[in-house]
């Protein structure tokens, strides 16, 4: 495994170097907000959850062992925290609010998007949120980590504390479900012809 500079920062923090913790927060704060937003679809709540994650990281720093990559350690805390929040039922899965996400949708549709492009991006976003709401917990986490956060299968396996083979299966099943859910958005040549 390549040297992990973030692990070195975490070890420095364990040794009392508070600046190292600050560096980790500055590096990963934004990513944690984005990750939590996939779960709660509310920016204010996503920020609170991301802050919770770093508070836990601060409290439980002594539990970190350098045998684990820092990034997967952090995502594990975040995934467990978000799932616990959802299990408590305070923040059910919600479809994207087209009004709230308007600025982001413009980013996707390009500069000066047409109303049709904005509406299409909003519909796609809603369809993905509805898909996520339907997926079983593990598939959902694997999908968010691999598809939306760009973690490798090995990293997802570390985060979910399972095998790469299991992740491969989870990601595949979630991707097939995504293909089903997004079929109406796809080009005719990409639509279902033969299912095995």
């Amino acid at each position: 495994m390549a040297p992990d500079p973030d692990a070195a920062l975490m070890l420095a923090f364990q040794g009392g170097d508070e600046a190292a913790f600050r560096t980790l927060f500055e590096k990963y704060g934004r990513a944690m907000v984005a990750f939590c937003h996939h779960y709660v679809r509310d920016l204010g709540r996503a920020e609170e959850l991301a802050q919770d994650v770093f508070l836990k990281l601060y409290r439980y720093a002594d539990r970190y062992r350098p045998s684990a990559r820092f990034r997967t350690f952090l995502y594990r805390i975040a995934a467990n925290h978000c799932l616990n929040e959802l299990r408590r039922g305070e923040h059910g899965w919600r479809a994207a609010d087209p009004g709230k996400d308007g600025a982001d949708l413009e980013l996707v549709a390009g500069k000066d998007p047409s109303p049709e492009e904005v509406a299409s991006a909003a519909a796609l976003s809603r369809a993905v949120q509805e898909l996520l709401a339907r997926l079983p917990e593990k598939q959902r986490s694997a999908f968010v980590l691999a598809r939306l956060e760009g973690l490798s299968y090995e990293e997802v396996a570390d985060v979910l504390e399972t095998t790469v083979s299991a992740v491969k299966s989870l990601v595949h099943r979630a991707t097939v479900a995504a293909a089903d859910a997004l079929e109406s958005f796809s080009a005719p040549g990409d639509r279902k012809e033969v299912r095995q």
């Binding site: 996503a46 991707t175 097939v176 997004l182 990409d190």
Partner: protein, 155 residues
């Protein structure tokens, strides 16, 4: 050769071994059904890559976090302010003292008293947990540690 649908996502993600990749690609040359499924999955991945990016944190996100971190010790008495990890050795001593107090005050001759001691074993575990986290700074913290479960929202 059997169909390779189960491996198509890993193929598209570049997550197959070279040997398995060669087998899957050989199968795809001969199987229209699996090729169609690969096209469908590729289409889904293209659409997912076109999703809106997650929103940026609002201005002041970092400032609010540091304020929250600094407020925690005053609110909960648990976390030392930035820089404080040096009193962790107190926790096991406090735990041992609590256990000794249970033994002296409660005694262990009757079942009811044994049950009382068992209840305090949880307390000792909390002190040990706190010790491992380096969170005990003051006598007030020792009191708070006894209620860690409540603070953490654990059952």
């Amino acid at each position: 050769m059997s169909h390779v649908v189960q491996d198509l996502t890993a193929l598209l993600d570049g997550a197959l071994s070279p040997e398995r990749r060669a087998e899957v690609e050989a199968h795809l040359l001969a199987c229209g059904g699996c090729r169609a499924e690969r096209r469908r999955l590729e289409g889904a991945l293209r659409m997912l890559s076109a999703l809106p990016p997650a929103p940026e944190p609002t201005p002041g996100f970092g400032r609010r976090f540091w304020a929250r971190l600094e407020a925690e010790p005053r609110d909960q008495g648990l976390l030392p302010l930035l820089g404080g990890r040096r009193w962790r050795w107190i926790a096991p001593l406090a735990g041992a003292a609590a256990m000794a107090a249970v033994l002296v005050v409660g005694g262990i001759r009757h079942r009811s008293q044994q049950r009382e001691m068992a209840a305090h074993l949880d307390l000792l575990e909390q002190y040990e947990l706190a010790a491992s986290l380096g969170t005990v700074e003051s006598a007030e913290d020792v009191e708070v540690v006894a209620h860690l479960d409540e603070l953490e929202g654990r059952p």
